[in-house]
């Protein structure tokens, strides 16, 4: 149904005779109004109502039911593991991502383009394939002799794998657009390369580093497929998404929804935080 309506809507901007502002944007006419209705309906049916259902189900037992579910010792353990590994991954990403971006932008070695491409592979891989890839290397018959199956280090490794490009891609463009004259001026005034980086470059990169690390954190918080296989199915390596899935499998929807609500709240916080971060950066730049 919607597939038929939508293209007509798409074409309707020019048809409406409504007033246009300076950018040529119009008020809604009949056709575009209908299109907006269909689009909002689709977004609601697909995204908004289902997400609302998660929160509603999380609170079926009222606030106390929600609280009991998220303070269940297993839920707390899963959430603590998820938060600590995600924070660690965000921190490592901030450092290694900045380093990688620096090398890719400022150090024109042969094969740089190739590295630039390779960085995206882990992220774009289907998550279960990413999980299998890690299992193949660090699982029980590890060809490199490193056995991480069922350890928390394996979870960190899996999360580092899938979030590899976040900080790099966030820092890289800022570094490319950076005016090198400022650094040269600092060097002329006697600053060492390290001082120049710390006092001149780093402050300019900080918003990008922070937003890259935040994106990595958000992704890590909800990750499932890539850490599932390497976790070995043990309770000490169960992250919140696995905990929620286990509750779904047991048809314990209120408990699953309570944990899901917490994850959802984190996603929303991250989106708002990123928005503030970007606004701050835009004001400064």
């Amino acid at each position: 149904m919607s597939t038929v309506v939508e293209p007509a809507t798409a074409a309707s901007p020019a048809r409406s005779r409504a007033a246009r502002d300076a950018s040529g944007a119009a008020r809604l006419g009949a056709g575009s109004g209908l299109g907006l209705g269909v689009a909002v309906l689709w977004l609601s049916l697909l995204v908004l109502i289902p997400l609302a259902a998660v929160v509603a189900r999380g609170f079926t037992g009222g606030w106390s039911g929600f609280w009991d579910n998220i303070t269940d010792p297993n839920a707390v353990r899963a959430l603590r593991l998820t938060v600590t590994t995600s924070l660690l991954v965000a921190a490592i990403n901030a450092v290694m991502g900045t380093l990688l971006a620096w090398v890719l932008v400022r150090d024109p070695f042969p094969g740089r383009r190739l590295v630039d491409v390779i960085i995206d592979i882990p992220f774009a891989l289907p998550t279960i394939v990413a999980g299998l890839v890690l299992l193949a290397v660090y699982g029980t018959d590890s060809p490199v002799g490193i056995h991480l199956l069922g350890t928390q280090r394996a979870i960190v490794l899996g999360l580092l794998f899938v979030t590899l490009p976040f900080a790099v891609r966030s820092v890289q463009p800022v570094l490319m657009a950076l005016d090198r004259e400022v650094e040269q001026a600092a060097a002329c005034l006697g600053a060492s390369p390290f001082t120049t980086f710390r006092r001149v470059v780093l402050p300019l990169l900080l918003p990008a580093i922070a937003s890259g690390a935040t994106l990595a954190f958000a992704r890590a918080m909800g990750e499932y497929g890539s850490v599932l296989l390497i976790s070995g199915g043990l309770s000490r390596t169960k992250v919140s998404s696995m905990y929620a899935y286990q509750k779904i499998e047991n048809f314990d929807f209120p408990a699953a929804a309570a944990t899901a609500t917490v994850l959802l709240a984190v996603s929303l916080l991250v989106i708002v935080g990123l928005d503030l971060l970007q606004r701050a950066a835009a004001r400064r730049g």
Binding site: E6, R27, D120, P165, S267, D275, L276
Partner: protein
């Protein structure tokens, strides 16, 4: 000077080692594990009934959700950039939400609304004979959810950059709405649209968690296992053939990344001068990772809309 050079070399070595250990070594190991059992094992892994059904299911789901996302991506893109209405910025922010939601949460959300037993709409639909969860429609919904903004994110900046002059000129010259869309707007957004479709396709083929929850992961007669789910099952049940399927998915991913990389190079050479405003604008064309790309613009989108409004 020699000191600085050794610092640079040191940084380079650390960066390359990190990428090699994290990415290259694992990929080499998987390739080796695919190749070692020989071509016969490869063929039987991808030609079993289960695998063939999984390929068909994955293709159907990916095509349906890409089509939905393309239509709604372009439609919403036009609405957001060409019209002023209350809630416009909220709509644009909400459209980005799906990318930052955990796949398990996505699956659970859809089950709670469309599940046959006590879903908000699901029980009514179930008594009307319409099954959504544990069957194809639910898997399409889940896949569409997780890749929802990918086309939209690509199309919006192009629409903003293009402006409306040509569309208005065509209107003055008497072109109908359809003519204007097909002859003016579509050619302008075509590269961005195709790029969004490629990203969306890659994401749709590979989705695991969300599809796992809504599909019930059924094998056998009424199989709801897509290729990623089958990979997961083969690994967990210690059945052979997981690496071979995974290898195929890796090949698809690498192809997509190379395609994206080539496009990025093209757009870099087009705008060789970095725009003053704009780490965000640059990131838009420079960021080849599907969700990173769209996620990255979660916040910058508003800024761009403001620019569009000011023009």
């Amino acid at each position: 000077m020699g000191d600085r050079r050794s610092t640079r070399l040191g940084l380079r070595v650390v960066a390359l080692l990190y990428v090699a250990v994290l990415v290259l070594v694992p990929l080499v190991v998987v390739t080796w594990k695919t190749v070692r059992p020989g071509p016969a094992a490869f063929w039987s892994a991808i030609s079993s009934d289960q695998a063939v059904t999984a390929f068909r299911l994955t293709a159907e789901i990916a095509l349906a959700s890409v089509a939905l996302n393309a239509v709604f991506g372009v439609g919403l893109g036009l609405l957001i950039t060409r019209y002023r209405f209350p809630g416009r910025r909220l709509l644009s922010a909400l459209a980005d939400l799906p990318l930052s939601v955990s796949p398990i949460v996505v699956g659970l959300a859809l089950v709670l609304v469309y599940g046959p037993v006590d879903g908000w709409f699901g029980s009514t639909l179930h008594s009307a004979g319409i099954e959504i969860i544990f069957s194809l429609p639910g898997m399409i919904l889940a896949t569409t959810f997780v890749s929802f903004p990918l086309v939209l994110r690509e199309v919006v900046p192009v629409l903003l950059e293009e402006g409306v002059e040509q569309e208005q000129a065509a209107r003055v010259l008497g072109a109908s709405a359809w003519q204007r869309f097909l002859r003016i707007t579509l050619p302008v957004i075509r590269p961005a649209l195709l790029y969004g479709i490629v990203l969306s396709l890659a994401r749709s083929i590979g989705e695991y968690g969300a599809v796992l929850v809504v599909s019930g992961n059924v094998s056998g007669e009424n199989q709801t296992q897509t290729v990623p789910l089958l990979v997961g099952e083969r690994v967990q049940q210690l059945e052979p053939g997981a690496f071979q399927l995974a290898f195929l998915l890796i090949v698809v991913t690498v192809l997509v990344i190379v395609l994206v990389f080539l496009r990025r190079r093209e757009s870099e050479s087009k705008h060789s001068e970095p725009p003053a405003v704009a780490p965000d604008d640059l990131a838009l064309s420079a960021d080849p990772a599907p969700a990173a790309l769209a996620l990255h613009n979660v916040a910058s989108n508003d800024v761009e809309l403001d620019k569009g409004g000011l023009r």
